[in-house]
């Protein structure tokens, strides 16, 4: 703190004197110099990102941050998490307050192009659904005309909802809420008839209710919600690092590389793709400006995509999500990594 007081004061003095320092725009260099990755995460969504009792962030999105830290700094714990509400996340990324976002953010055209972000991939394919109390006697979203709907502000779900009701020529009354937990409470208290958000969050939410049987998730999925990590425009090398950190986790699952066997496989295997991934052959790490063991670090410290999924949101966790669309492409899902070559 004292050091930063001085730095802050020095900076202000420097600015006042009109001495503009040379802009070093490389995020990679900044992260390496700082020795810690600043990652923007959700302040609290079960399974995806939430602090545990000791204040350590855990979750499926958090694992992406940890993977990038492991790749860049060799230590998956060298992350400073910044909890961001949905309304401020892009501002925080654009201003440089965080180096990357892994905050269940939907990849859309305008967020990619107009807000000048670079989405580096998809770590969870979601879709928006509806949940209603059983007593409401509704079996399809088409019957929801005139309903009051709890909805998180500043999200794509808000816009999808408006689109869906317009297409189907129905009215609704929105009840805006700030966060996931808030929405859940309002819904349980009867402040709204319908709770709409990503289907994964609906499932997680319903599992925590006192009597889950009293509520049904309607069959309609009204939108595509590809959730993924993103960085700001203008630093392609940094974007590549985040993209291939995610891809390394995905490819590792496909090739059967896990946190348990990665070190052993790093001694060399018959499969050249695994060898290239783990840095036994080729110079993939150097091309990114990283150590050649970058992917090995990710896999030993964080694990592959499937492991992270099972640990945080899989069927054996309270969130209890099936792989579904998020299975590997070889098993009928959409999770697919370009080749490591």
């Amino acid at each position: 703190m004292k050091k930063s007081v001085f730095l802050g004061a020095l900076t202000l003095a420097g600015l006042a004197a009109g001495t503009a320092m040379a802009q070093d725009s490389s995020t990679l260099a900044a992260v390496k110099e700082r020795g810690v990755l600043k990652c923007g995460v959700n302040p609290g969504t079960p399974g995806f990102a939430a602090p545990d009792a000791n204040g350590n962030f855990v979750g499926f999105d958090v694992d992406v941050c940890r993977a990038v830290a492991a790749a860049v700094l060799g230590d998956s714990e060298a992350v400073e998490y910044t909890p961001l509400t949905s309304a401020v996340r892009f501002t925080a990324l654009a201003s440089g307050e965080v180096d990357m976002l892994a905050r269940n953010t939907t990849w859309t055209f305008s967020r990619d192009v107009d807000l000048k972000n670079t989405f580096v991939g998809v770590n969870y394919y979601d879709g928006q659904g509806f949940m209603v109390p059983k007593d409401l006697g509704v079996s399809s979203a088409k019957e929801l005309g005139g309903a009051t709907v709890c909805i998180e502000t500043g999200t794509t779900t808000e816009l999808n909802l408006a689109d869906y009701f317009r297409v189907n020529n129905m009215d609704y009354e929105p009840v805006p809420v700030e966060s996931f937990t808030e929405a859940q409470t309002q819904f349980l208290a009867g402040a709204c008839d319908v709770y709409t958000t990503d289907a994964s969050a609906l499932a997680a939410s319903r599992a925590s209710f006192e009597n889950p049987e009293g509520y049904v998730v309607l069959p309609e999925i009204i939108s595509k919600e590809p959730l993924g990590p993103l960085v700001r425009h203008g630093d392609d090398n940094w974007g590549d690092i985040v993209r291939w950190s995610l891809n390394a986790m995905i490819a590792a699952e496909e090739y059967g590389v896990t946190s348990a066997n990665a070190s052993e496989l790093a001694n060399g295997t018959e499969n050249p793709e695994i060898n290239r991934l783990l840095g036994v052959e080729g110079e993939l790490g150097a091309m990114l400006g990283l150590d050649n063991a970058w992917a090995l670090n990710i896999l030993t410290q964080v694990g592959n995509y499937g492991e992270s999924f099972e640990k945080n949101i899989g069927e054996n966790t309270p969130v209890g999500l099936a792989r579904g669309l998020n299975a590997q492409w070889t098993e009928g899902g959409l999770i697919y990594s370009p080749p490591f070559r």
Partner: protein, 436 residues
């Protein structure tokens, strides 16, 4: 006259004094006069009693039948189902389980003693300021406390904060030295100049040297991100309160000044800050400041928040004190002039003591508002108690808990704010000098 004796009975002695009828004394009378003084009021009373009974019957079992010992909401519900057959009771176990987190945020558990020590030192440092019966020597502790707080809470070697303190001392010495020769303004400028030169040019290198050669009193460093809960509210609240009062006084005086530039700056600052919501200032501090800083600089988040909260409340404070200044009769100013006091002496001895006394309710109002506003830091990603309540509910074990956390947080804030309000009333009574 003759028929006087023909009266059959004349009382010869006084009657024993009887107690007043039951209906005219004590509780019965009070009830008759206040609760049942007519058919309409009687109906209102009965309806009110019924409503109060209903509310208490609904909440008291919930409050006092709650579970204090469980590790998750699920377990809470199981226990309640076994005990009562339903779950319409509170689950206070969330408080026992997350008690430390609500108080200290993510502060490292082995270092809690530092936070506790800082808290008790704070109470000791406040005592001589709040109560004039406390020995005056304790004011030295009050002066040292800000530096002790920073050292205890954030850790590191002791030299950094010492250097900042030395800057203040040097500034004070410069002020005294220059004060002999002439004007107040000149000595103030000299003091600031000396302090700034020390802080920016000499201090840092001295600190660096001492840190490497003599790392005295080194405590484990704690990052600002790890502060949270009630602790961060108190740190931000106390810093804001302690800093905004003097800044507010200076701004209020500046606004009344005859000097054009001073007056314009003060009015501009006050009107700008009052015209912007606090949450906007906090967003600027937490998200947009990086646009203005060169890449690679870090500017501690808690410090940014304290600065913004202080600026915000000092603008309000200035207006409250200006109200007190305006309420003083003009005769007081003229009397000070007639005594031959200069501007600063007049302010210190005559104007301010009266103006501040008049403004006490407004000042405390601003303090209470500031303390409650500290919960807004939740929106910029600092886990204060409200932010923690969200984080706790995002954990699978406690997902779905609601009232228990908010009742606790509400109670904590109520205690703090009620204490402030009681103190201000006591102070007002103590300082009342007029005859009533």
């Amino acid at each position: 006259m003759s028929n006087t004796n023909s009266l059959s009975y004349v009382r010869k002695e006084m009657l024993e004094q009887q107690p007043a009828p039951r209906s005219q004394v004590g509780f019965t009378r009070w009830m008759r006069e206040n609760l049942f003084s007519g058919w309409f009021n009687s109906i209102l009373t009965i309806v009110s009693i019924f409503v109060i009974y209903k509310i208490l019957a609904g909440t008291l079992p919930w409050l006092f039948g709650g579970v204090w010992d469980a590790t998750s909401l699920e377990q809470c519900r199981t226990i309640l189902n076994e005990r009562f057959g339903n779950t319409h009771y509170a689950c206070w176990a969330v408080l026992t389980e997350r008690w430390n987190q609500l108080l200290y945020g993510f502060y490292p558990e082995t270092e809690y003693w530092r936070a506790n020590l800082a808290f008790f030192l704070m109470l000791a440092a406040l005592a001589p300021v709040l109560f004039d019966k406390v020995p005056r020597k304790m004011l030295y502790l009050t002066m040292a406390f800000p530096f002790l707080l920073v050292w205890l809470v954030w850790g590191g070697a002791i030299w950094g904060v010492t250097s900042v303190a030395v800057g203040f001392v040097l500034g004070g010495v410069a002020f005294k030295l220059v004060d002999r020769f002439g004007s107040m303004a000149l000595s103030a400028i000299a003091a600031v100049a000396v302090a700034v030169v020390w802080w920016l040019l000499i201090g840092p290198s001295v600190v660096e040297g001492l840190n490497s050669t003599l790392p005295l009193g080194h405590l484990e460093e704690v990052q600002s991100r790890d502060l949270g809960g009630f602790m961060i509210c108190v740190i931000i609240g106390i810093s804001g309160i302690a800093l905004s009062l003097p800044i507010g006084i200076v701004l209020a005086l500046g606004r009344q000044s005859d000097l054009f530039i001073v007056k314009t700056i003060c009015v501009g600052f006050i009107e700008f800050i009052r015209g912007v919501p606090l949450i906007t200032l906090l967003f600027t501090a937490s998200l947009l400041l990086n646009y203005f800083l060169p890449p690679g600089t870090t500017f501690d988040l808690t410090l940014r928040v304290i600065i913004m909260v202080t600026l915000f409340s000092s603008a309000y404070m200035a207006e409250v004190i200006r109200g007190g200044l305006a309420a003083l009769p003009k005769g007081q100013y003229e009397a000070a002039d007639a005594l031959g006091l200069d501007y600063w002496k007049a302010q210190r001895l005559i104007i301010m003591p009266q103006a501040l006394k008049i403004s006490i309710p407004g000042i405390v109002n601003t303090f209470i508002g500031l303390f409650k506003d500290t919960t807004l830091v939740m929106f910029i990603g600092i886990y204060d108690m409200l932010g923690l309540s969200n984080a706790i509910r995002a954990n699978a074990a406690w997902n779905g808990i609601y009232w228990e956390l908010f009742i606790f947080i509400g109670l904590v804030f109520w205690i703090c704010c009620f204490a402030m309000s009681q103190y201000s009333q006591w102070l007002e009574r103590k300082l009342r000098t007029d005859h009533r």
